[in-house]
């Protein structure tokens, strides 16, 4: 079926590992670990502003909810290439998968920093402790499984590097099962990250509290997957001075805007069915933030409305950026801005708290740079 697609071989990029960029990233990551050291000695409150009114700060809402959605590039590309059989995107799978692998592994790891009684974490997976009615249980098990699945999915890159051909051959025989899991598991937990909010009930503002939360979170995770692939392709082409695969990004952006239009219909339709449309016109921070969120979701539709504009790398980049911000805001709005558990509670992240999240992002980018230089991930440049 996809026999027409010829892919250039994947190859390590090579080049220096110690550069001003990598050193800066390493310093940021090291700072985060110093702050985390303080957290483990003096408690979560010693470095964060979380409190009983906002018990989940950015270490959960950004690092996990947003971070894992930003890491959906691998999921979206696997969905396109292996399920919808769009073989032409095959060269984009491995770089996307690497970013996803890092995003998810760090999201999973940073959960531990936020768990008060982290030494009991294994209870989630232990019969007798595990509580299957809990949405958190589903999220935790599913994300853990997906991280393992992604490492297996990605392992051919290592196996190629170390010349372990036999293992790679055996693995490729069952790879279809791993790929299927790699599509199923994110569909489950990305939707559940929205479902987590349902039990909060009235504490979530009606602009965000709905039984459609799993659908909204899932659709935006796929959208953010599209967006991050375009975003990263633009960045890595300028950062590594490689040609931009513009024809692929153009086609990708068409799929992205199509899904985006469906999302906006679902989002507004849900508000209309619940009779909650009026809340967006009520003065206050919730209404304002809703408009910003929706504006950012709508922006790519406007920016990329004209087919010719999809050939413009700057427009593609800005559209992807808007969409990433929009997905970010949906999550921040539903978990923090639209959350109210009683009068008198306030939360804004502290500087050390932000530095930990920044450090995690730095570590992610650093790992990506090191691995694409060392392992066969990006397609070989064709010399013209």
């Amino acid at each position: 079926m996809s026999a027409t697609h010829k892919h250039p071989a994947l190859t390590p990029l090579g080049g220096p590992l110690v550069t001003p960029v990598t050193v800066t990233l390493a310093i940021l990551a090291a700072t985060a670990f110093v702050i985390l050291g303080i957290r483990f000695v003096f408690g979560i409150g010693s470095v964060t502003n979380v409190n009983d009114g906002y018990t989940w700060g950015i270490w959960v809402v950004y690092d996990v909810m947003v971070g894992s959605a930003f890491a959906c590039g691998g999921y979206t590309m696997a969905l396109l290439v292996y399920i919808f059989n769009k073989g032409e995107y095959h060269p984009m799978v491995r770089p996307a998968l690497l970013a996803s692998l890092f995003g998810y592994t760090l999201a999973g790891a940073s959960v531990i920093f936020d768990l008060g009684r982290y030494w009991n974490t294994w209870h989630i997976f232990w019969p007798g402790y595990a509580q299957v009615n809990s949405v958190m249980f589903e999220v935790a098990v599913c994300i853990t499984a997906y991280i393992i699945v992604m490492w297996i999915e990605f392992s051919p890159a290592f196996l190629e590097k170390f010349g372990l051909k036999d293992i790679k051959k055996k693995l490729s025989k069952v790879l279809f099962l791993i790929i299927a899991l790699g599509v199923l598991l994110p569909s489950m937990h990305q939707s559940s990250l929205g479902s987590l909010l349902v039990v909060y009930g009235y504490q979530i503002h009606p602009l965000w509290q709905t039984l459609m939360l799993p659908v909204l979170y899932l659709m935006t995770a796929v959208l953010m997957g599209f967006a991050i692939v375009i975003f990263e392709a633009c960045l890595s082409s300028s950062g590594f001075r490689r040609p931009l695969e513009l024809h692929l990004l153009t086609k990708l952006s068409r799929l992205m805007t199509g899904l985006l239009a469906v999302y906006l219909v679902v989002r507004l339709g849900d508000l209309a069915v619940r009779g909650a449309l009026g809340f967006m016109f009520e003065p206050g921070v919730e209404g304002l933030m809703f408009w910003v969120e929706m504006g950012l979701f709508a922006a790519p539709l406007v920016l990329l409305a004209n087919p010719a504009s999809r050939l413009n790398p700057a427009r593609l980049f800005i559209s992807a950026f808007c969409l990433l911000l929009a997905g970010f805001l949906l999550r921040i709005n539903s978990y923090l801005v639209g959350y109210e558990t009683g009068a008198g509670w306030h939360y804004f992240p502290s500087v050390p708290e932000i530095m930990v999240s920044v450090g995690m992002i730095a570590l992610e980018i650093l790992g990506y740079i090191v691995l694409v230089r060392y392992l066969p991930i990006l397609p070989r440049e064709e010399k013209i």
């Binding site: 697609h5 000695v41 974490t121 209870h123």
Partner: protein
């Protein structure tokens, strides 16, 4: 071609769900047979905070200071150090007890021991459990991972966390379940001088609450104190207040084992207006619809595996 396969898989999943559906709406849970709880009558409360001190002592909780001097325990809210407080409502001149205008009133803040608790539904590791017989919602620090989903989920903002400790716990009222083994009952009810906080079986507390609501304002009556079922203390003679015709906790999120009476609207006293359907039931119905018997995930996995196998094979042939 392939997309049609995918849709076929999805449709098969939908059909399976529709026929042998494991997904049925999960109703609210019902009151356990021997449920015990508290009746808090805001109109009887004099704000002495004997219950706050007794709770601290019975549960070995540290003092908490809100004044510069730090002479005595002065908690302003429940917290990682405090399981029970009495809060005051004040409006206008604040002179008339139990008056919404120019008056004041008290409210006890502690766990309501929901019949269908959000914290129990939310907890991923069974650290929050509801006793099937007496209905007490208790916390097991040995199981807890400290994720604080219970803190965020509780509609009453009850479970709290110790942010200032390297080895923190969740804290909440457990109705002095540890004292019950010694034949005692909730310390807050035991020390209450006016019977404002009364311990007993929920069915009996409910009957007592209805009796009070039926009284004429100003009518002389006797208010039981301590334990309603053992009558361990003499009753408190007083005049009936002008109650609102509502037992808070009777219907809220499927009912709670702590019932409350007041003359000032509960919203004003910090108690939210809540629906009868529990949020736990809504959340679990959604989860069971999606994941009941793992039917839907397995059907999708089957469809995805089939499609992926064909497409990967195509891929191999190319190489």
């Amino acid at each position: 071609m392939k997309r049609r396969d995918f849709l076929k898989g999805a449709l098969a999943g939908g059909a399976l769900l529709a026929s042998g559906s494991p997904a049925q709406a999960r109703p609210n849970k019902t009151m356990p047979p021997e449920a015990v709880g508290l009746l808090y009558d805001s109109t009887l409360c004099i704000g002495c905070k004997a219950c706050v001190a007794a709770c601290k002592e019975a549960n070995g909780m540290p003092p908490e200071f809100s004044t510069a001097e730090q002479y005595w325990d002065t908690p302003l809210d429940i917290s990682g150090k405090t399981l029970n407080v009495i809060k005051m409502y004040k409006a206008g001149s604040g002179e008339i007890k139990d008056s919404e205008k120019n008056g004041y009133a008290f409210m006890k803040v502690s766990c309501l021991h929901c019949v269908d608790p959000s914290c129990v539904s939310a907890c991923p590791v069974s650290a929050m459990t509801k006793d099937p017989v007496n209905g007490i919602v208790s916390y097991d620090k040995g199981a807890c991972i400290g994720c604080r989903y219970c803190v965020a989920a509780c509609p009453f903002g009850v479970p709290r966390f110790q942010y200032d400790r390297p080895f923190p716990q969740i804290t909440k009222c457990q109705l002095c379940v540890h004292r019950m083994k010694e034949g005692k009952y909730a310390a807050c009810a035991e020390v209450c001088p006016t019977g404002s906080t009364l311990f007993g079986k929920v069915s009996d507390l409910h009957a007592e609450a209805k009796r009070r609501l039926a009284l004429k304002p100003g009518e002389d009556t006797e208010f039981p104190r301590g334990n309603l079922n053992t009558h361990d203390q003499s009753s408190f003679p007083a005049k009936a207040a002008k109650y609102l015709p509502q037992i808070y906790g009777d219907k809220e999120v499927g009912g709670t084992q702590m019932l409350k009476l007041s003359a000032v609207p509960f919203e004003k006293l910090g108690m939210p207006t809540l629906p009868e359907r529990s949020y736990a039931a809504t959340s679990e119905t959604m989860q069971h619809t999606l994941y009941g018997g793992l039917v839907l995930p397995l059907v999708f996995l089957g469809g995805l595996t089939y499609i992926a196998k064909r497409n990967v094979k195509d891929d191999d042939e190319n190489e």
